[in-house]
């Protein structure tokens, strides 16, 4: 079907002058060229796309990289023993990074991996992204496959003793970053990946995560203090038998953030939990969580738990889908998306969807938005707790259910403290 002219024009305008990175191995060039072809075919998103109804993609598509003030680097996981991998303005920063070696882990720059004639990511790069285009186009991810030059490639072959921390830093107020991460968790292996930091004036990250049978992947991400953040992120995951995928994102501020998580449960008895908390203050806050979970095996469990706290004209969006393929019996799917609107100016837009082609499944979804509980607020105040502090306590309580999705209690506490700090600064 021919694309609308407005879309074709916008796509051509954005892509003109861009070419896929040079110097990769033949397979990498092929994957990138294929992505570019697909991208031209589907076109970049525009406002009239159903999938972009609540979030204006224009911020991601301007030809010029917008300028964004360099905020203080949000401290990221400083209390945690990690293997630190730093990207400054979207480029791997060897100087600032730890030595890239850890037991049970192969770790390599993406830019190097794609130059090798034989590499395990050959069967993965762009493959999960392509599979993730089922039902809806995700052109920004395809854009990433075509143009990303740097990123990290991780292969866990056993239980990795400490988390890998992707620490995004900035030095340039017009930095544009397109980062691609590729992860493979082998049979029975286990890996925790942390992400934090400011990254770029405009950031496009995509991550493909392939989890083999009985593998475990834990992802905890903080999107911090940069008000002028424009970030479009994608995580594509494929889960093998009895494997586990858990992803949590805490987002504070950010004028335009779209986080998409696309998970396919491919092996029986797999478990996927995707959760997040976003707190926004002001008209220049727009945060979008878009999740798509496909059950394509028997007896799998998926959970989506998203909480948003909004005020002063801030906007939160949730689009969450559970697709149960024929034969995916004994599916247990759960989805909850809630917002706490601290005043009447805040906006919350939600689109929960279920699409089910199996008959022995259990799926539930719920979406609520509400104001702060005045009775609870009075109760706290009547005990001597000042209004602002009482409100913070209730906000933390509201978010607690999402934070509880983080398995590692120390990491959960780290995020809780970030959150409490943000609330205090925002009074």
């Amino acid at each position: 079907m021919a694309l609308p002219k407005a879309k074709t024009d916008a796509t051509e305008a954005r892509l003109s002058g861009l070419s896929i990175p040079e110097g990769g191995a033949a397979w990498a060039r092929e994957a990138r060229q294929d992505a570019l072809n697909r991208l031209t075919g589907m076109g970049l998103p525009y406002r009239r796309d159903e999938y972009w109804r609540f979030t204006n993609p224009a911020e991601f598509l301007a030809r010029e990289t917008p300028r964004a003030e360099i905020a203080l680097d949000a401290p990221g996981f400083e209390e945690t023993d990690v293997l630190r991998v730093v990207f400054t303005d979207g480029v791997f920063d060897a100087e600032a990074s730890d030595d890239l070696s850890l037991e049970h882990l192969e770790i390599e720059r993406f830019s190097e991996a794609v130059t090798k004639d034989i590499h395990w990511i050959k069967g993965l790069l762009g493959v999960l992204e392509t599979a993730g285009q089922n039902r809806v186009d995700r052109p920004l991810a395809t854009f990433n496959t075509a143009f990303a030059e740097d990123g990290i490639v991780l292969r866990a072959t056993g239980k990795v003793s400490k988390p890998v921390h992707l620490d995004y830093r900035r030095s340039d107020d017009r930095a544009e970053a397109v980062l691609r991460h590729v992860v493979r968790v082998e049979n029975g292996a286990d890996l925790t990946l942390l992400e934090s930091g400011v990254g770029a004036a405009r950031l496009n990250t995509a991550m493909e995560v392939d989890i083999a049978d009985r593998g475990g992947f834990h992802h905890v991400r903080m999107q911090g203090r940069d008000h002028e953040r424009r970030a479009a992120t994608h995580v594509f995951a494929r889960l093998g038998e009895e494997s586990t995928f858990k992803s949590f994102t805490l987002s504070l501020n950010g004028m335009m953030t779209r986080n998409e998580v696309i998970v396919t449960l491919k092996g029986d008895d797999a478990v996927a939990h995707v959760a997040g908390a976003a707190l926004g203050d002001g008209r220049d806050f727009h945060h979008d969580d878009t999740v798509f979970i496909t059950h394509d095996a028997v007896n799998c469990e998926s959970r989506q738990v998203f909480k948003k706290v909004l005020r002063n004209g801030a906007t939160g969006v949730f689009q969450g889908k559970i697709l149960v393929e024929p034969g995916a019996q004994k599916t247990d799917g759960y989805q909850i998306s809630q917002s706490l609107l601290l005043d009447e100016d805040a906006n919350f837009l939600a689109k929960p969807e279920l699409e089910i082609y199996a008959d022995d499944v259990q799926c539930s979804h719920g979406s609520t938005s509400g104001a702060i509980d005045e009775t609870a607020l009075f109760y706290l105040k009547s005990r001597g707790i000042p209004e602002d502090k009482a409100q913070d306590l209730l906000v933390l309580a509201f978010v607690a259910e999402a934070l509880a999705e983080i398995e590692d209690e120390d990491l959960a506490e780290t995020l809780r403290l970030q959150l409490a700090g943000w609330l205090e600064r925002r009074r």
Binding site: F378, Y379, L380, K381, G384, L393, A397
Partner: protein, 251 residues
């Protein structure tokens, strides 16, 4: 300690007068009971004194010592030494009971210009008070009032009272929903706090609570006014004859 003069209160949202001129004086160390039929304005009085939204004071005054209560925010009234034990203690999922109590305790200390107390010292203090009320440590770890039985919720109110050590305690229908044993436990908790410097205003529908917490003075409230005042024997009279007889007599 508590001095209420000609207090008139209407609902903010509608033109409905609830309190039509309440006069009440509770001396230091005294226990006063307010009894009355449903809808007489007993609970409204407790909410207005503690500063809940939704009420408009149209006339009169309420002082605690020389503090004008009606001028203060609820948290300021609490820091000044006022405490309301709720008829329906509020469940707050996600906020730990201990966190809640410590935040309240330290906020009050801070408001009074005192140093905050460390988590360890506070834990010790609470454990001691909890033991007296037969509240086990597990309950302290749970979210505020979530999954508590009726009796546990009321005991938790008394625990907060014991920890925060207020000067003026208002107990709003603390006996409602309690069985005999729970009522005894709660009453013992309250009695243990009776002190020369601490006053109580016990609001109740039934006389039975006053068998355990013996008041110095009993007031009968009806239609937004205090219509009769007497000693503990007044409560017994109500128990025996009901409010209807009393109302007839007053009119």
């Amino acid at each position: 300690m508590l001095n209420i003069k000609g207090l008139k209160v209407k609902l903010e949202e509608e033109d409905k007068q609830i309190l039509k001129g309440v006069d009440l004086e509770v001396g230091a160390g005294q226990v006063h009971a307010i009894m009355g039929p449903n809808g007489s304005g007993k609970s409204t009085l407790s909410y207005v004194l503690s500063g809940r939204d939704g009420y408009e004071v149209t006339d009169g005054s309420a002082h605690m010592g020389d503090i004008d209560l009606l001028e203060l925010e609820p948290e300021e009234r609490a820091a000044a030494g006022l405490f309301l034990a709720f008829q329906y203690p509020v469940e707050i999922p996600g906020v730990g009971n201990m966190t809640f109590l410590r935040t309240a305790y330290n906020a009050q200390r801070k408001a009074r210009g005192e140093d905050e107390v460390s988590a360890a010292d506070f834990l010790k203090l609470v454990r001691e008070k909890a033991k007296d009320l037969k509240i086990d440590a597990e309950m302290l770890k749970r979210p505020v009032n979530v999954g508590f039985s009726g009796g546990e919720k009321k005991r938790n109110e008394i625990l907060q009272m014991a920890v925060l050590a207020p000067k003026m305690c208002i107990l709003d229908e603390t006996d409602s929903g309690l069985d005999v044993d729970a009522m005894k436990l709660v009453s013992d908790g309250v009695n243990a706090l009776r002190d020369e410097g601490r006053s109580f205003l016990v609001i109740t529908h039934y006389q039975r609570l006053l068998d355990h917490i013996v008041p110095d003075v009993v007031h009968i409230m009806a239609d937004g006014r205090i219509v009769k005042t007497g000693g503990p024997e007044l409560a017994l009279e109500v128990e025996k004859n009901g409010y209807a007889d009393l109302m007839d007599e007053v009119q």
